[in-house]
Structure formats: C-alpha cells, structure tokens
Amino acid sequence: MKKRILVVVLSLIMAFTLAACGGGSAEPEININPEPAGEPVEGGEITVGVTADLDSSLDPHVSSSSAGTREILFNVYEGLVKPDSEGNLNPAIAESYSVNDTADEYTFVLRDGVKFHNGNDVTIDDVVYSLSRAAGLETGEPLVADVAGIASVEAIGDKEVVVKLKAPDTEFLAHITTAIIPKDIDPEKEVVGTGPFKFTERKVQESITLEKFGEYWGEKPYLDKVTLKVIDNAETLVMSLKSGAIDMATHLVFSQVKELSGLNIYEGASNAVQGLYLNNAVKPLDDPLVRQALSYAIDKQAIVDLAFDGHGTLVGSSMFPALKKYFVDELTNYYTPDAAKAKELLKEAGYENGFDLEITVPSNMQQHVDTAQVIVEQLQAVGINATINQVEWNTWLEDVYRGRKYQSTIVSFDAHGVAASDMLARFQSDNGKNISNFASEAYDKAYKAAVSTTDDAAQTEAFKECEKILTEEAANVYIQDVASFVAMGGDFYGYEFYPLYVADFSKIFKIAE
C-alpha cells in the first residue's frame, strides 16, 4: 500500500512535468513598429505600467528628479521651448525668441492664450518667477543645474522676457526647456503645468492619473486619460501586459518583448549611455590600470548578444549616437575585449589575484540586472570576483547617486536636453552629479574650453576631446545605448521615440474597432 502511494505521488509529478513540457515553443510573432490597422479615434483611456513609483516630489525644478519621473512630467509641464521627436527645439510657451551676437542674452516673446491647468493664463510674471526660481536667483542656489548660468531674468512689458547669462552659451536654448509654473502655488504640493495632460490623482505606490487638458494651446492629445500603474516587478509587468491589465509599458528589453506576441512593439534607442559606472575614489578603482583592465575584461558585444538578443548600439564614451554631431565612433572599440591584456594590467597594478567588486543595481530595471549578470561572468574570467547588490530605486538614489557610497553600479545616464554638455558636465571634478568621482585636470580644462567658446566648430572639438579623455582614462566602462522597446496592447498605436528620455502620451491613439 505504501508503494502505491509512492506510485501515485510520482505519477502526479510526471503528469505535472509532462504538462509543463507539452507547452511547446513555436517562434512567437512580434510586430515591430507596426502600421496602424485603422483610423485614429478621439478619446479613450490607456493604462501604462511603470516600474517605479514617481518621485515623492513632483516639483519640476527639483534637481534630483529621476529620469522615470521626468519622462512622465514631460506631458504635464512645458518650458519656453519644447523638444520634438526629431530633436528640434520648438517655441512652446514662448512664441518666438532671439539671441544677441555674443550668445549671452536671450529674448523670448510670450505666446498668447497659453493656460495653466488651473484655468489661469500664463503671465510674464509666471515666466520670470519660474526661471528665477529654477536658477536660484534669490536664494543663490540653482535648483535646476541646466539654468544655473542665468544671471538675470527681466520682464519687458507683459509680453517679453530677457534672460541674461553669466557667460556665453550657444546651447542655452536646449536648457530653457525648464518648466514654467504658476507663481502663486506651491509646486511641492500641487502639480499645475501647461502641458497636454493635467495631473489629477496620485495613489502612493499604486497609480498616477493624467487627464487630457482641454484648453491646451497646441495640438490636443487623442486620449482622454492616462493611468500610470506602479508595477515594481519586471516579471509581473510582462504578465500584466499579456493579461491586458495594462495597455502599455516602456523601456522593455527584447527578452521581455519576445513574450508579447500580438502586441504592438516599438523599437528605438533609449538615448542614454548604459555603463558600469565606477567610483574612481575607492580602492582599487582609483587606479587607472584597474579601470582599463575592467574595460578590456568586459565584452560589450557579448552583453548585447546575451542579454539583449543583439539589440542595442555600442558606445565607447559618455555620448550616445543620436547626438550625431558629438558622437565619436572611433572610441567605441578603443578597448577590444582581451582577457589576457586585462590580467596583465591587473598584475601591473598589483592585483594579480583579482579583487572583490560589488555592483549595485536598481532592482526594478531589468536591463541593468541582466547586464550585471553577464558582467559578473565576464569578470570571473579575469579573476575579479564580482557580486550583484540589488537595491530599490530610492535606495540607489540615496546611496549611489547622492551618497556616492558604492563601488560600481550599472545604470543609464540620459541627457536632460539635446545638448552635449548634458552628457559630459557630470564628469568635471567639482560637479555635484559626478557620481564617478572622476577627477582629471585635462578633462576640466577641455570642458571649460567647450562651454566658454561661441565658435561652434571649436566647441564640438572640445567636447570630443572630453569624450576621448573619459575613454582613455577609463573613467567608467561605457557599454551601450540600450535598445528600448515599448509594448502597446492591440488597438493602441502612435508611440514616438524622442532623442531624449521622455514618454510622450499625446501622440498615442486608439484605432476604431
């Protein structure tokens, strides 16, 4: 009798296993960048899964805001000018602008009939208030680093505003996308902008609701409502997409997309540089030889192949290919994967037997967790014992981004605007966001030269010089511009990629059934 129970138990297990194996694996069909199968209709609601709750403060001028928050707030707040999906800067709240010959004085003319979400008109006072606040003109501490170069903001009449800069800056227009907010509300408590969507509700760790702003000055969005649902677990995100619990998710990787046959998939670049960012201030990473050894040990192409099924563009410095003017392709293969060379460099640096390396990774970002797993394997081959430390996003911000208490981390850095300085400013030795603690006099000099000249060609050259220094010094291991996939359920189409880290919901539409 006992044997029979055993037989029953074992046969049940067999049944389970067989049922599992019977699933089969036909190659899934994936529609990448599909043509809409019908005419767009006005209205409709979309539920979007986001892998981290937005920052606790939705103040658009808060400097430490995360990319995930900024990409959503893009729909809510606008600046004097606004980037489009081609990378152009178009007048937005300003109707037109002019710049003087020395590039240190910009004049903006306010557009008529722009309204805030609370129904009030945007006045010149609001503009002056917003820019002064962001630039910290009264407190002396700029809230938004992009506009730290502003010396004064002055209204001329009730239509024009003159912005004077401390030093010439030909890229300033890319920075003046800073949000314009009403002067009489507290942006920490209320979210009032001028964008195509207005913010209506927030449930902590659960959801954020945006609704169409009927009085938007520009082209109005198709959708009536966008609900962002917080799903801080990559696995449940895919399940929710498949089940239809959410209609859309951004920043997916190909292995996730492969599971989503039947959905509309959009592929684009994430326009950010994914890297193994190193804390140059801690041992043994303070030694350039060690950093170079890491660069030789890591096979970028293998990462892209193993973790991203070949989707992604390799980079060699802190610049992504979409910023064509500044991208230096020769740096991409500056370090060709070479384990022997890496070992040699380690030996030279005195780490013949390798060392322990902790890689801190935000746990909600599947692409970085996957990359970390491949890197651990690659480093093993040269004797470096790497371990992964997964942390929640807020903890990452606290420990790594603000506290710089880490050894190495894998993330992507994006550009706030379409300016080269956005990708390079952070590596100046005294920059507040220099999480690598990179310190190079040559770099600081080259960067200063770049931002202080008004000669376009000389500036581009100087920026390229900066990139070259980063690569040669192996400040960090720059890996790739991760291919970014957006999945949208059945009837939704129209996603557009920007050369920036934004998710524009205003172009998304539903088709007639």
């Binding site: 138990v9 194996c21 699933g23 990559a234 895919v238 399940m239 599971e259």
Partner: protein, 267 residues
C-alpha cells in the same frame, strides 16, 4: 521508535534521499556550469542535451535547479542549525530553572511566534540587509522560539521524572544533568520538529528569494529562478515548472518525514 515506521516517513525518506543525492552530486559535478551563458542556446525546450531546457541567457536549467536546490538546502540547514542550537540552550535553562527569566523569555517567545514568519524575516532583512548570509541569520533567529518552546516544555515535563531525581541525588552537576541526562531524552521529540523546521525553512528561503531579498543573481536559488521564470511562463513553462517542482519535492520530503516521526509518537 524505529520499528514499524509508517508510510509517510518512508515515502518522505525516499524523496529526501533522492534529492540529497542529487544535491550532493551537484556540489561536485553538474552537466554544465550553472552560470555558463550561451547566446546560441537561449530558451530551448527540454531535450537530451538540456534535460530541463535552457533559460533566457542560455544557461542549463537542470544544472541551475540542482545548484539552486543545493543553495536552498544549505540555507535551510544552516537556519535550522542556528534555531536548534540556540533554541535548545534557551529551552533547557528556562525549562529547568523556571522563574521570572523563564516568564519574560517565554513572553518574548510568544510575541515573536505571533508574527507571521515572512513578516519578521523581512524586518530582520531591513536591519541586516539582504543576501545569502543575512537570510540565514534572519531565518535562524526566526526559528529559535519554536525550538525553545518545545525544548522548554519537554524539560519541564522531564525534570520531575524519577531518573532526573535519582541523578540529582547522586550529585550530578546541573550542566551534566541538562546536557547528558535530559537532552538525549528529548531528542526523539526534536527529530520531528527538525524535519518540520527544514520544511518551513525551505519554504521561507524560497519565498524570500522570490521576493528578491534572498540569494542574489547570478547565483541560482529555487525561489529566484521562479521569480525570473514568471516572465517566460507562457513561452517556457518548463523553466518555472522545474524550479517549482524541486521546491515541492524538498518540502514534501521533509514534511512527510516530520509527520511520520510525529505520527509515530502520537498514535
């Protein structure tokens, strides 16, 4: 108590032995390196080359399940060892001496037992941080009260028995009395508690790793694998199934042994 083992115990012992053999062999040899990635062999179904197929990095799932089961088992083992050792010490002394210290310790004990285990483990993880060793520590602490309670009640029962009185009359020291005379007599009761403890520890470790606070990637653990497999449930169900069934077998084996031992005593 060895005579007339019931069927529960036997089946449990068979399952556990098979699993243990696989785990022990897996410590020295697996068909593939569990962390070896292969771009050309991603997400393959079960085949003769890869018994349980491959995962999204082209790693051999069978090798990973074997190593993951090993990791889970080692964590469970260490956890039970900590809980048992400290639990026995606390239980022996409080049970034997009684008094206010006993009263206080047992109150704390009961308060800890009142917490759902995962909840307490998460609190301890908040204090120590995640990772393999901290999981062992957290779960180990978690397991102390149940062992302490059991030992205490057994000691309290035994201390009035004749053999203890006789030993005392013969002038046996307290330490010797506790560890040499009383302790062996409560071992039979402890055995079933140990098996149940293993059962709970395996489940707890799997849950914690599933939640992402246990074993860190790329090291395999059954709970982690289940978590990762969730994405591929539709296209690669074998991934989740192999990890899930391995957990079930471990839990089932220890559960049956525990019941077999307990059932023997009661009935």
């Amino acid at each position: 108590m060895i005579k007339g083992m019931n069927s529960h115990f036997k089946i449990g012992a068979v399952i556990t032995c098979i699993m243990l053999v696989i785990i022990i062999v897996g410590m020295f040899w697996t068909p593939y390196d569990p962390n070896q990635m292969s771009g050309s062999e991603k997400m393959q179904g079960p085949s003769l080359q890869h018994l349980f197929g491959t995962d999204n990095f082209g790693r051999d799932i069978f090798s990973r399940v074997v190593q993951g089961a090993g990791a889970t088992f080692m964590i469970a083992f260490a956890t039970v060892a900590i809980g048992l050792t400290v639990g026995i010490l606390i239980g022996l002394f409080t049970g034997y001496f009684g008094g206010w210290l006993d009263e206080i310790l047992m109150r704390i004990n009961d308060s800890i037992l009142a917490f759902p285990s995962i909840l307490l483990a998460l609190v301890l993880i908040a204090i120590f941080g995640g990772g393999k060793y901290n999981i062992i520590l957290a779960l180990g602490i978690l397991f102390i009260p149940s062992f302490a309670r059991l030992v205490r009640s057994e000691v309290a029962r035994q201390k009035n028995m004749d053999y203890v009185r006789n030993a005392k009359l013969m002038g046996v020291g307290t330490m010797r009395l506790l560890f040499v005379h009383i302790l062996p007599n409560i071992v039979p009761v402890l055995l079933s508690a140990i098996a149940i403890g293993f059962n709970n520890a395996v489940l707890a470790e799997a849950s914690m790793s599933f939640l992402g606070v246990g074993v860190q990637p790329p090291d395999p653990s059954l709970g982690r694998m289940l978590n990762e497999a969730q994405t591929y449930l539709m296209s690669a169900p074998w991934y989740a199934m192999s990890a899930g069934i391995a957990i079930i077998l471990l839990v089932l084996g220890f559960g049956l042994i525990g019941e077999g031992l307990g059932g023997e005593r009661n009935g």
